[in-house]
């Protein structure tokens, strides 16, 4: 019986020849990532709850401070200090203020075919490089940190067969929001979303990251794009090995196959407070906004910053709008500086922040007040996600967000 990409990665991690959906396997985790959203609690559990506290392999661990950096109050500062000290004591790789966790993992650590667990739901991002990344809580993280292992219920795979190319002015973000709108916010609950077909191979790595990152918003355990030459090139250009490029067998079993014509996708927004309430931008036209945000693990890369700069050049952010931009990593920030994008942002009146989760996290910076409306390239539009419980978040592409920041209301780019 053939296997899907997800099944092949699990089989490799479980050191068995074959797995199939519905089985539970014990696996060796290739890599473990934890950020400042939960690490302080994991460390407390490590010290207080374990009979034999130990770390199986410190080289598999990566700690990243990105959610509340720099600290905005003394309690966060204490949580950060705990994380910093623990990393130092156990010689664990630690990034502080260097970028959003998933961007840093993709830039520096993820290899195709790996099984990676991260204490963050958007760990599914790593599927863009042909890895199986999945979000876990701190208890799972602690167990894996101590034993090097975890248990996995092998998910079914839903395949998205993509054909053609996105039209100009339409972005991977429009594609993924459209897919979530089609399947629903729990339409892929506990599944692997596999993206394949020539349309998938037409997408560049940054676009694949956008797709996989939002897989969890359809409930998926992970999203994986069938890896190809572009993945090998990306990974090798960063000095890592691209050895385990898994593709699904012809006789692999899929729970369902969707066929998506990329040139039929149009610019969309997800309306508050449901990510699957997805409509063409025109249907949300003229909704007045108070804030616009470009950034997050979904959409703060150089490609999106270029799109924003192109639209902003020579124009001003609307007087009634705060436009907040947070590059996804220092590497992205430096590249944007070099290309003159930051100049364009500053001259237009946008605020450029340090590399962090920023507005998408709804707690560190750019929080919105009661009754306010935000249009964002962030990951979620849940009620209260960006600040006050009675505020409103629309999600759109970098182009839609930037054009709206200029207009003061939601508009098509």
């Amino acid at each position: 019986m053939g296997m899907t990409i997800g099944e092949k990665i699990i089989a490799r991690a479980a050191k068995v020849d074959q797995v199939k959906a519905g089985e539970i396997h014990t696996i060796e985790v290739d890599r473990l990532m934890s950020n400042d959203g939960t690490t302080h609690l994991t460390i407390d559990m490590f010290h207080n709850d374990l009979k034999h506290p130990k770390i199986a392999d410190k080289d598999k661990l990566v700690f990243i401070m990105d959610h509340n950096v720099p600290a905005e109050n003394p309690k966060t500062a204490a949580a950060h200090r705990k994380m910093r000290n623990f990393a130092k004591e156990h010689n664990i790789t630690l990034y502080e203020g260097k970028g959003v966790c998933h961007q840093l993992m993709v830039e520096n650590h993820v290899c195709p075919g790996e099984f990676i667990m991260g204490a963050d739901s958007h760990t599914c991002t790593y599927g863009a490089l042909g890895a199986f990344g999945t979000g876990i809580g701190c208890t799972d993280f602690l167990y894996a940190m101590v034993t090097g292992q975890s248990w996995v219920l092998v998910p079914e795979t839903i395949r998205f067969e993509l054909t053609g190319k996105l039209r100009e002015g339409v972005y991977a973000r429009d594609l993924m929001l459209s897919i979530i709108g089609m399947v629903g916010a729990n339409g892929c609950n506990y599944k692997v979303m596999e993206f394949a077909g020539e349309g998938a191979h037409n997408l560049d790595i940054d676009e694949r990251l956008v797709l996989c990152n939002l897989a969890v918003e359809a409930g998926a355990k992970t999203g994986i794009v069938e890896p190809d030459e572009k993945v090998i090139e990306y990974v090798e250009s960063r000095g890592r090995k691209a050895e385990n490029l898994f593709v699904s067998d012809e006789d692999a079993e899929f729970e369902k196959v969707y066929h998506i014509q990329l040139d039929e996708i149009e610019p969309v927004v997800a309306r508050p407070h449901q990510i699957d309430d997805v409509v063409p931008v025109g249907e949300a036209k003229d909704v007045k906004i108070d804030e616009a945000f470009l950034g997050s693990c979904n959409n703060g890369r150089i490609e999106e910053l270029r799109v924003a700069a192109q639209i902003l050049k020579g124009k001003k952010v609307n007087d009634h709008v705060r436009f907040i931009i947070a590059p996804a990593s220092n590497e992205v920030y430096l590249q944007a500086l070099e290309e003159g994008l930051i100049d364009i942002f500053m001259e237009s009146g946008a605020m450029v922040m340090n590399c962090n989760c920023s507005v998408c996290w709804g707690s560190c910076q750019g929080v919105i007040g009661e009754g306010e409306v935000l249009i964002s390239t962030g990951t979620r539009n849940f009620k209260g996600r960006a600040g006050h419980p009675d505020s409103f978040v629309y999600l759109g592409s970098a182009a839609t967000v930037t054009a709206s920041a200029i207009a003061g209301k939601i508009v098509n780019a």
């Binding site: 939960t38 509340n68 204490a78 204490a119 809580g137 208890t139 506990y190 707690s363």
Partner: protein, 158 residues
């Protein structure tokens, strides 16, 4: 017996415990903010043994384990929903909070109804009838029976 606190579909983890409280030092400090955006007085009203009942996709969104942890810390005996988002579901089992899938209960109870859940028998007892709950796979039930993944680990290593 416990009282029912009833919630709608797609209750996300931000609604269970919002981002701005996650870096507080511990669950005890966080728990007073549980469900703040949808039921501001929940933490004051809820008592040990009460039961959260919800529609589809309960616990969707972030992987924050603080979400099931605050519910457990407030004494919630179990969460019964039509369906759960996967990370919340897994986290709950890992910390020893029973999560029960029941397609039928939601439409048969109102807020503040008294119901009884027999976890060992897998039964939900209402005043008029008894509903069966979905059973966990044995591997997961074993973790839950051991009081969560860390107790399970400590016993494995004993």
């Amino acid at each position: 017996m416990g009282r029912v606190f009833k919630f709608h579909n797609d209750v996300d983890t931000d609604q269970i415990i919002a981002s701005q409280y996650l870096l507080l030092p511990n669950i005890e400090e966080m728990k007073v903010y549980t469900f703040e955006s949808i039921d501001r007085d929940f933490a004051k009203k809820v008592e040990k043994g009460d039961i959260v009942v919800a529609g589809e996709n309960f616990g969707c969104g972030s992987s924050r384990e603080q979400a099931p942890s605050v519910l457990k810390a407030l004494g919630v005996k179990a969460v019964v929903a039509k369906s759960f988002a996967r990370i919340f579901y897994r986290n709950s089992i890992n910390i020893g909070l029973p999560v029960i899938i029941s397609k039928d209960l939601y439409d048969k109870v109102e807020d503040m109804d008294q119901i009884d859940i027999d976890l060992t028998e897998g039964l939900i007892k209402l005043s008029e009838e008894t509903l069966p709950c979905t059973k966990l796979p044995p591997y997961m039930q074993n973790i839950l029976d051991n009081g969560g993944l860390i107790s399970f680990l400590n016993q494995e290593e004993a």
